[in-house]
């Protein structure tokens, strides 16, 4: 039997096959990719530490801290914006850019303020996002700031082919910048123009970096991925207001926990005339517009 050449050959083939199989399995398991949220706790911490060190080195800033603070139980964030107060000054836009480390060149803005005619009411077709008068507000105009509406039935997360974007337990829709492939399907799906793409390498001077980072929020983004408003996840999960709320000079922006019956947003929803942008699309935003006066 041992002298039979075919048997020897088939044995060798088997051995070779097993070896190749083992190497292939090894290679395979070593390069299986995972999003941060899929990693076990200790591995996630290691990756986080690595990302923090990389950011420090890249910007030459020792004060950089990178948090991965999770959602607090019993909290779902909601936002309310008073259309009768907004004066269209765009302070929120630039406070957001500063807080969330958006690219300065090319410019990326997560908030877009639309100027509308009082005669027409809310009419996106005739809205002007590039209004530029010497003083605001102008007579006969009103202003509708638009940012991510943090939809409960979000069309953007549904279409992502690699699950790089999802809704967190506190209602915030986030993007994993290390997993996004940059296909921009979410941008086609979003009815509010809330998603923005890094068409070029984001230009962010080291001196302008906000060093208090959250891994799903304002950490500097790479080229070729999508980003969006996260209700300032790095602040709000620590119990602070989003930067746009703090920046608003007329108090048009309200923020709080929708599950807390005593919160300001709940008061607004229950007592004011509230409207939802593109309500007919059933996106169920957690961003409400209202007329306070």
């Amino acid at each position: 039997m041992s002298g039979d050449p075919t048997d020897r050959r088939s044995f060798l083939r088997q051995v070779a096959g097993t070896a190749v199989g083992a190497v292939a399995t090894g290679l395979l398991s070593s390069c299986v990719g995972e999003r941060l949220r899929d990693l076990p706790w200790d591995e996630a911490r290691r990756r986080l530490a690595r990302l923090e060190a990389e950011t420090r080195a890249r910007f030459g800033r020792e004060d950089v801290t990178l948090s991965a603070q999770e959602a607090q139980p019993g909290v779902v964030f909601g936002y309310a914006l008073d259309l009768s107060r907004c004066i269209g000054c765009r302070r929120c836009v630039y406070a957001c850019v500063k807080e969330n480390n958006q690219s300065r060149t090319p410019q990326i803005h997560w908030i877009k303020v639309l100027q509308m005619d009082k005669r027409r009411g809310i009419d996106l077709v005739h809205a002007d996002a590039y209004y530029n008068p010497a003083f605001v507000p102008e007579d006969g105009r009103f202003y509708v700031p638009v940012q991510c509406q943090q939809c409960d039935n979000a069309p953007c997360t549904k279409v992502c082919p690699v699950r790089a974007t999802w809704q967190e337990p506190d209602g915030i829709v986030v993007v994993d910048y290390d997993w996004c492939i940059g296909c921009r399907y979410c941008m086609a799906a979003c009815p509010y123009g809330a998603r923005h793409f890094n068409w070029a390498e984001p230009g962010l001077p080291a001196g302008e970096l906000n060093p208090n980072l959250h891994v799903l929020g304002n950490r500097p983004r790479p080229m070729g991925v999508v980003e969006k408003c996260t209700f300032c996840i790095q602040r709000t999960r620590q119990g602070r207001y989003p930067a746009c709320v703090e920046a608003c000079p007329v108090g048009a922006r309200k923020f709080g926990n929708l599950l807390d019956p005593d919160s300001e947003v709940r008061y607004v929803i229950e007592h004011k005339r509230v409207l939802i942008l593109k309500e007919e699309l059933n996106t169920m935003p957690k961003f409400f517009y209202f007329y306070g006066t």
């Binding site: 395979l28 390069c31 299986v32 990719g33 999003r35 090319p106 877009k112 639309l114 996106l124 077709v125 005739h126 809205a127 996002a129 638009v146 069309p155 549904k158 279409v159 992502c160 082919p161 690699v162 699950r163 790089a164 997993w179 996004c180 492939i181 940059g182 296909c183 921009r184 399907y185 941008m187 086609a188 799906a189 979003c190 009815p191 509010y192 123009g193 923005h196 793409f197 890094n198 068409w199 070029a200 390498e201 790479p222 080229m223 070729g224 991925v225 999508v226 699309l281 059933n282």
Partner: protein, 430 residues
């Protein structure tokens, strides 16, 4: 023994594709030059990001995705030939169905390349591929598209290579395998285009796409554009090889295209009626395409050109006399190709995204980089198609097989005069 045969097939094929006349080499060199130019342009894009394209946040998809959509239609149209050839055993078409499948394979290669060059992080392409990555199936229609396109590619590739290889080995092909896959490829061809239509169709944020007429209209226009390319190829084949393709086959395909174009125009008309008569905010996108909005008229000439081309082609193909005249037939094919290229490419993507969801109008037109990359991808597709034909045709003619090397024989033996009779752009065919 088997391996030996395969090695000879491989070596023989290599020899076949490296032998050719000046015209062949000129064509190949032209394609290679385009591929090189596209590769250089793509290298720029990798370096500087998609900022070298004209796409921006308001129009986040453009020329690449438009070409992708058009080519999915071309790939799907192979069924137009496969259905009558295999199912109804309609003789004249049967012999050329294989070229439809070769075309499908080349078109899918181009489709996948167009998606690849469009993504912002090509280094993360593998995130789509389980078990390495995560495919958001069944939630994302893009995940569906990745699946069906690759399956369709595999099915057609297996059928074609199996048939060609068996022709080379001079043995009967595996009927069970070929029949199963061919029967599978018919619904799959419909599915790749339906899924691609649903990819747009499912987006409530874009009312221009969010119309259920989109999928049927995609199929109808695909059944025009795919065969239009094939009719050119078939005429070139019988011009440059001794391959016999009967006029009836070509006319039959042209007749089928006329019906498909009628359906396409009808579905378009139905959508346009609905938009204009109901006159809601959604009309804005259709108006942007055909009339221009707020001083932006970039698409208007293209939109009307597509209408004129499609209607002209329909008239040429529905009248038997002009369908059978090779001058008008080829004019009709060119008109269809151009017309559908406009309506399914930029004519679909741009009005869908403009004005954007907040009413902004951004006038997109592709940059030179985008055009070079796209031309490079088309060149890759034509190169794949050319090389596959170069091997498949002599095998189909029985001139290249296990015992014969066609590279030593003249490309067109003088004993077959009828191949000479039909130059592609003359009326001599009747």
């Amino acid at each position: 023994m088997r391996f030996h045969l395969f090695a000879r097939f491989f070596v023989g094929s290599a020899r076949v594709v490296t032998r050719g006349n000046a015209l062949y080499w000129g064509w190949v060199a032209f394609l290679l030059a385009l591929v090189a130019s596209g590769a250089l342009a793509y290298a720029d894009q990798l370096q500087a990001g998609l900022s070298v394209t004209a796409m921006r946040d308001p129009v986040s998809w453009g020329f690449y995705i438009g070409n992708f959509t058009f080519l999915v239609g071309v790939a799907a149209a192979a069924v137009v030939l496969v259905i009558p050839a295999y199912i109804y055993k309609w003789g004249p078409i049967r012999e050329i169905a294989i070229f439809g499948e070769l075309l499908a394979v080349s078109a899918i290669v181009m489709c996948l390349l167009f998606v690849f060059v469009d993504i912002g992080r090509p280094d993360r392409f593998w995130h789509l591929l389980p078990p390495f990555g995560i495919l958001n199936f069944p939630s994302s229609l893009l995940a569906w598209d990745v699946l069906v396109l690759n399956l369709y590619f595999v099915v057609n590739f297996v059928v074609v290579t199996h048939l060609v290889y068996c022709g080379f080995a001079r043995r009967d092909y595996n009927h069970k395998l070929v029949w199963t896959l061919v029967l599978l490829s018919v619904p799959m061809a419909v599915s790749i285009h339906t899924v691609t239509a649903f990819l747009y169709n499912g987006l409530a944020a874009r009312p221009y796409w969010n119309a259920s007429i989109l999928a049927p209209q995609f199929l109808a226009s695909a059944f025009c554009s795919g065969p239009a390319i094939l009719l050119f190829v078939l005429q070139l084949l019988r011009r440059f090889t001794s391959f016999r393709i009967r006029n009836e086959a070509i006319w039959k395909i042209a007749e089928l295209m006329a019906y498909a174009m009628f359906l396409n125009l009808f579905l378009h008309g139905a959508e346009i009626f609905k938009e204009y008569y109901s006159d809601t905010h959604h009309l804005l996108h259709t108006r942007y395409l055909y009339e221009g909005v707020g001083g932006h008229h970039a698409l208007q000439p293209y939109a009307w050109a597509a209408v004129v081309l499609n209607v002209t082609a329909f008239i040429l193909f529905i009248i038997p006399r002009t369908r059978r005249n090779f001058v008008t037939l080829n004019l009709g094919c060119a008109a269809i190709y151009l017309g559908v290229y406009i309506e399914k490419g930029m004519g679909l993507i741009l009005p869908g995204l403009t004005p954007d969801t907040l009413g902004e109008i951004y006038s997109y037109s592709p940059t030179l980089t985008e055009i070079r990359v796209a031309a490079g991808i088309f060149a890759v597709g034509f190169l794949v198609f050319t090389l596959m034909l170069k091997v498949a045709v002599p095998i189909a003619l029985g001139r290249f097989h296990v015992d014969a090397d066609p590279a030593r024989e003249p490309v067109r033996p003088p004993s077959e005069p009828e191949a000479e009779a039909v130059p592609p752009a003359t009326a001599a065919g009747t």
